[in-house]
């Protein structure tokens, strides 16, 4: 019953770090110096996007959702992708996280060409390197807070006691120490999102993608949630990619990349 066994660690993952033949990523495209994006501490950007293009076929029409996106996000940077709805920011996030395959161009995260991984390698890649915070929290309704937070560790095969201990510790840090065994339906939106944050950070991923993490929350809770995300990221030097159309949220970022009609129109770094 081979299908019951966990998949073996993939060798392809390492192989994909090797210089790719297509040359899409091998030759650095000329970039304006001001948004070089390379963090002073590390030589290479954590996330590199080269010449990305994404088209959708809708009936007879080709919709170009993203075009000529070049981007480098440094390790430890909190980068906000800002834009009105329909600007292509969610599409960009999906390309970055390997949820969708780009039409052209490539994405490299931590040296791994995400756009080249197959389904199984992607799953393992997400397990090891990526955390997600969703707008609609996306907790599993059948699992309580601890089990929800422990879920990514379960996929990695961490034993139950260990992963639930880690999950509990994480939940205490986000201030839910008294709601460990509550189910999503028993919690407010803010509490659910805190569970979501605990879940995203419990594996100590290198990159956390947050898609409108405060979209469904009131303004006071928004601040709490954003503070929490920023504090976690700073503590471990994690890279955050924050997608939002809310200017107040953008203020939390080190850098704001503005999208309009599928293209980058602004890219500014800001001091806190």
């Amino acid at each position: 019953m081979a299908w019951l066994a966990s998949p073996p660690p993939t060798a392809n993952m390492d192989a994909s770090i090797a210089p790719d033949a297509s040359g899409v990523l091998a030759t650095p495209a000329p970039r304006p110096a001001r948004h070089n994006g390379t963090h002073p501490a590390s030589g290479r950007p954590m996330i590199e996007v080269r010449n990305l293009r994404k088209e959708y076929v809708m009936g007879a029409e080709h919709v170009i959702a993203l075009d000529r996106i070049n981007l480098g996000i440094a390790r430890g940077q909190i980068c906000c992708i800002y834009g009105e709805s329909g600007s292509g920011k969610s599409t960009l996030l999906n390309q970055l996280a390997g949820m969708e395959r780009p039409t052209r161009g490539g994405v490299r995260i931590g040296g791994i060409v995400v756009s080249r991984l197959d389904e199984r390698e992607l799953a393992e890649f997400r397990q090891k390197h990526i955390g997600f915070v969703f707008q609609s929290y996306n907790l599993l309704p059948g699992l309580n807070a601890v089990e929800n937070v422990a879920m990514p560790l379960m996929f990695r095969g961490v034993p139950r006691e260990e992963r639930e201990a880690r999950a509990r510790a994480m939940l205490r840090r986000v201030g839910l120490g008294k709601r460990l065994n509550h189910y999503p339906s028993q919690m407010s939106g803010g509490q659910q999102q805190r569970v979501g944050i605990a879940r995203a950070f419990v594996t100590r991923p290198q990159v956390v993608f947050a898609d409108e993490p405060t979209g469904n929350l009131d303004s006071k809770t928004k601040v709490d949630i954003m503070d929490m995300i920023r504090d976690f990221a700073r503590e471990n030097g994690q890279t955050i990619v924050l997608v939002t159309h809310d200017e107040h949220m953008a203020a939390y970022a080190d850098r704001i990349v503005t999208l309009l009609d599928g293209r980058i129109v602004h890219d500014t770094e800001q001091d806190e």
């Binding site: 998949p7 999906n94 707008q135 996306n138 095969g157």
Partner: protein
């Protein structure tokens, strides 16, 4: 992902939708039940056949009928199963019997001689007569090993002692009574019950059974040669003692004493039912006395009986004996043809059961498809969080498999109860004895044969089959789940 986590998740998912899980499991229970019950009825037929044959005789006995046709003593083997296909080269003698005995799986073997009709008389003034008494002879040293059983008395110990068949005494007619009323009603040839009308036509039932005229264990029997009829070869000095007024026993016959009654067993010769059984040496002496004309050399074995250690090796031993050049027969032949007949019935019964399980499989597939559809979002989330495609598929297959295992186990338990009920109804009520017959299957005789028999492997098979069917019907939905794009999880609520 660890297997224990998969099981844990599966349990949570099944519990979350209790009523649907229960209904699906119920479908499997019904399917499993119908298969087990139907097949159990089929194996019940087997058991009834077997018990019927066993009541007729020992199933492990092979009768070897040789090709030695020299003597006038030659007669058909027991049950008239003599066969003409044997080759003429093999001789059924002591050496052959010894060879049989040395074959693997053979428990015992003996030569066998039938003296088909002797005149037997007993009682005061030889009042009780049997003109056509069968005398059979075997090697008495093999008596126990051959599996002969006594219902009363003991084995011959002294000179002149022989064994009689269980109902031999009923074969004696009272010569002082009128024709038509001169035999006692024997237990083996009466009907279960007779109506008054049938009774008028000569029907007799259990209530009419009487004891024989005399106690054969305490009465000496005189053996003489049968009155000459068609053969014309009995030119002996012996006087046929067929008439009631022949008083003297000393000159015309030999007196013998029956020391025990054999248990009736058709596999071991007619003598176990009606006739006399004695040692081969004794028969030879006897024949020399009562019929000096017959040469002793002609008293060769007319057949040999070989007892196999267990019924599974009967075919094996039988074919070995056949290759030695002998003709054989055993009740296995009958068992085989009976089996052949029951097989088709069993197939039909099993088919009906399988249909029910297929219906259950459709139910499982339906449940799993629904489960996937309503969990698209969850699956997407899991994928986004790094759950591999393998694990997603495994999750759904474990769920489907669990439904199959649970349904199979419950189905087996229910079938066990149904089977017990069927058998108790057939026995006509609940009693300690009936429960013993039904559960342990240790009853003997037609009366205790079960209608529904569930061998242990049927349980194993039913559970395995239910699980397999569940996995197969869960496979499609599981693959559907695998194809759910992770993106849907994020998109579905925006």
């Amino acid at each position: 992902m660890r297997f224990s986590d998969l099981v844990h998740l599966c349990r949570q998912n099944l519990f979350r939708r209790k009523s649907r899980t229960i209904l699906t499991v119920l479908g499997v229970v019904v399917g499993c039940c119908s298969i087990v019950t139907m097949v159990s009825l089929g194996s019940g037929i087997d058991e009834q056949n077997k018990q019927m044959l066993a009541s007729m005789g020992d199933l492990t006995i092979i009768t070897v009928t040789g090709t030695n046709s020299a003597g006038g003593m030659q007669a058909a083997g027991p049950m008239g199963m003599a066969d003409s296909s044997g080759t003429a080269t093999a001789r059924l003698d002591d050496k052959a019997v010894k060879d049989f005995r040395s074959l693997q799986y053979v428990a015992a073997a003996t030569g066998h001689i039938t003296y088909p009709s002797a005149s037997l008389t007993a009682g005061p003034a030889n009042r009780y007569t049997n003109d056509a008494g069968t005398i059979e002879a075997i090697d008495m040293a093999q008596f126990d090993a051959m599996g002969y059983k006594l219902v009363s008395g003991h084995k011959p110990e002294r000179q002149g002692e022989v064994l009689a068949g269980q109902y031999t005494a009923y074969d004696f007619a009272d010569s002082l009574r009128l024709e038509g009323d001169n035999y006692r009603v024997a237990p083996m040839n009466v009907a279960e019950s007779c109506t008054a009308e049938e009774r008028a036509n000569g029907c007799r039932d259990k209530s009419d059974v009487q004891d024989p005229f005399f106690n054969i264990l305490t009465t000496k029997i005189t053996v003489a040669a049968a009155p000459s009829d068609d053969s014309g070869s009995t030119s002996s000095s012996s006087t046929a003692t067929t008439t009631e007024n022949t008083a003297s026993a000393s000159g015309s016959g030999t007196q013998i004493q029956v020391s025990g009654l054999l248990k009736e067993d058709y596999g071991k010769g007619q003598a176990t039912s009606s006739g006399l059984l004695m040692d081969i040496g004794m028969l030879k002496d006897l024949v020399a006395k009562i019929q000096p004309g017959a040469a002793t050399s002609s008293l060769a074995y007319d057949s040999a009986l070989v007892r196999v250690q267990d019924i599974d090796h009967v075919a094996d031993v039988e074919s070995q004996i056949r290759t030695m050049g002998f003709t054989t027969s055993s009740s296995r032949d009958m068992l085989d043809s009976l089996k052949e007949q029951t097989r088709s019935i069993q197939l039909i019964l099993g088919g009906i059961g399988a249909v029910a399980l297929v219906v259950a499989a459709i139910g499982i597939a339906n449940t799993m498809v629904m489960s996937v559809t309503e969990r698209v979002r969850e699956i997407g989330i899991m994928k986004a969080l790094g759950c591999t495609v393998h694990d997603i598929r495994a999750m759904f297959l474990v769920e489907a498999g669990a439904i199959g295992v649970i349904g199979g186990v419950i189905g087996c338990l229910v079938s066990a109860v149904i089977s017990l009920a069927i058998n108790l109804i057939r026995y006509g009520g609940v009693s300690t004895e009936h429960l013993q017959w039904a559960i342990l299957g240790n009853g003997t005789g037609d009366e205790s044969a079960r209608i529904s028999v569930i061998p242990w492997w049927l349980y194993v098979f039913a559970i395995a089959f239910a699980t397999l069917i569940s996995l197969i019907s869960g496979f499609g939905p599981a693959n559907k789940a695998v194809r759910v794009p992770a993106l849907d999880a994020i998109k579905s609520n925006q």
